[in-house]
C-alpha cells in the first residue's frame, strides 16, 4: 500500500463553511505557483491520500457510494497525476 504526504512547499486551503467531507480544496506551490482547485471526487482523493488513508480507492468508493473496483483504476491514475504535478508525494517505505 502506498502512503502519501503533502510535499514541502505545497499550501492548501479548504474554504470556510465546507461540509465534511469538503467538496473543494485549493492547492498552491508557494511562493510562486498558481492556485489550483480540486472539486468533489478529486478533492476527496487528495484529502484521503494526505490524511493517510491506507486504501485511498476504498475510501473514495465509500464516499461516492460505488464499489471499489468501479473507481480504483481512475483513483490510481489521478493519484499518479497528482504526484506528477508535485501536489502529492509518496512516503518513503519503511524497511
Amino acid at each position: 500500500m502506498t502512503v502519501y504526504r503533502i510535499p514541502k512547499g505545497v499550501a492548501f486551503v479548504v474554504p470556510d463553511g465546507e461540509p465534511d467531507p469538503p467538496g473543494v480544496v485549493f492547492l498552491m506551490h508557494v511562493p510562486d505557483g498558481l492556485p489550483q482547485v480540486l472539486q468533489n471526487s478529486a478533492a476527496w482523493i487528495w484529502l484521503s491520500a494526505v490524511e493517510g488513508e491506507p486504501d485511498v480507492a476504498d475510501a473514495v468508493a465509500h464516499l461516492v457510494g460505488r464499489a471499489k473496483h468501479e473507481v480504483a483504476a481512475d483513483v490510481e491514475v489521478f493519484l499518479a497525476d497528482l504526484v506528477g504535478r508535485g501536489l502529492l508525494e509518496e512516503e518513503p517505505s519503511v524497511p
Partner: protein, 301 residues
Amino acid sequence: MPTSVSIRFTHAALQAIAEDNDIDLLHIKGPTVDERLLAVVSAGDQLCGAPGTVARQSVDADVLVRPAHVDRLFEVMHRHGWTTAYHFADGSAFEHAATLTHPVLSPADVHRRFPGIGIDASTAFERLWAERHTVPIAGTPCPVPSLRAQRLLLIVHAARGGALDHSDIQRSWHFGTEEERAAVQQLADDLGAEVALAAGTGRLEEYHGMRGYELWKALSTNERSHVRIWVARVRSEATVVGALRTAIRLILPNPRRLHTTLGRRPTAREMARAYAQRARWGLGEVAQLVRSTSLGRRGRR
C-alpha cells in the same frame, strides 16, 4: 478563488519566502488569530449543530517583520512578483506598514512596527518573537505572537480605530480572567503600550498627562478634528526631530497617493494644486478649531 483562501495563500507564500531567506516575521491578525479569541456562533446557527467559531474577515494578509530584515524582505518579495503599492511613508501617520500587491495573491500589509507600542521597534519585535509559537496557515507552519500578545495587538488595533465597543476588546480583555488580563498588562508595560492598552480598556484617565495620552484619547474617541489629531500626534513624538517630521508630513500632500488616485504620475501643476488644497484645508480646520474653542470658553462664562 475566495478572498479568505487567497489571504491564507499570501501568508503561506510570505512564510516560504521568509524561510528561504532567513527573514523573521510574525503573522498577525486575520486567519492567524487564536481560536480562543474568535467569535463563537451558537449550535443552532451551525449546519452541523455544534457551536463553532466565526472566521475573521480581512482584505489582506498582515505580517510584522523584524525591522532589520525589512529591506531584505522587500527585495525578495519584488523578485517574487510583488509590487510596492504604498511604502511606509505613504500609509498612516504612524508610517508603520507598507502594502505590497501581487498579480495572483491577496495584498500583503508588511508592518515594521505596531502603532501603540512605544519602545524601539527592534526591541519590541524581539520581545514578541521570543514568545512566539507556530500555527498552520494553508497547511504551512507560520510563527504567530503568543496568545497574550495577540490579545494586546487586537485591543490596541481596535482602540486606534475608535472601536471601543469592538468584540475583539470584549473577548481579549473583558471576557478574560484576572490572570489573563494581568499577563496582557505586563506585556504592555514591557512594550511601552500601556497607554494604548488603557485607551482600549476604558482606563485611559489613569494615564492623564503621560506622553501619548492625548493621541490615544483622540484616536479612541474617534476625534473628528484633523487639527486636534495632528496636534496630538505631534505631541506624542518622543523627540523634537520626530515631532517636526510628523508635523510636516501630516501637512504635505502625498505624491504616491496622488499617483494612485490619478492612475499616473502627477504633474507639477497638479502637485502645486494639491499643496494649495492642503493649505486651504489646514487653515479651515484651524479656524474651525479656534472658533469652537472660543465658543466653548464663552459658554463656560
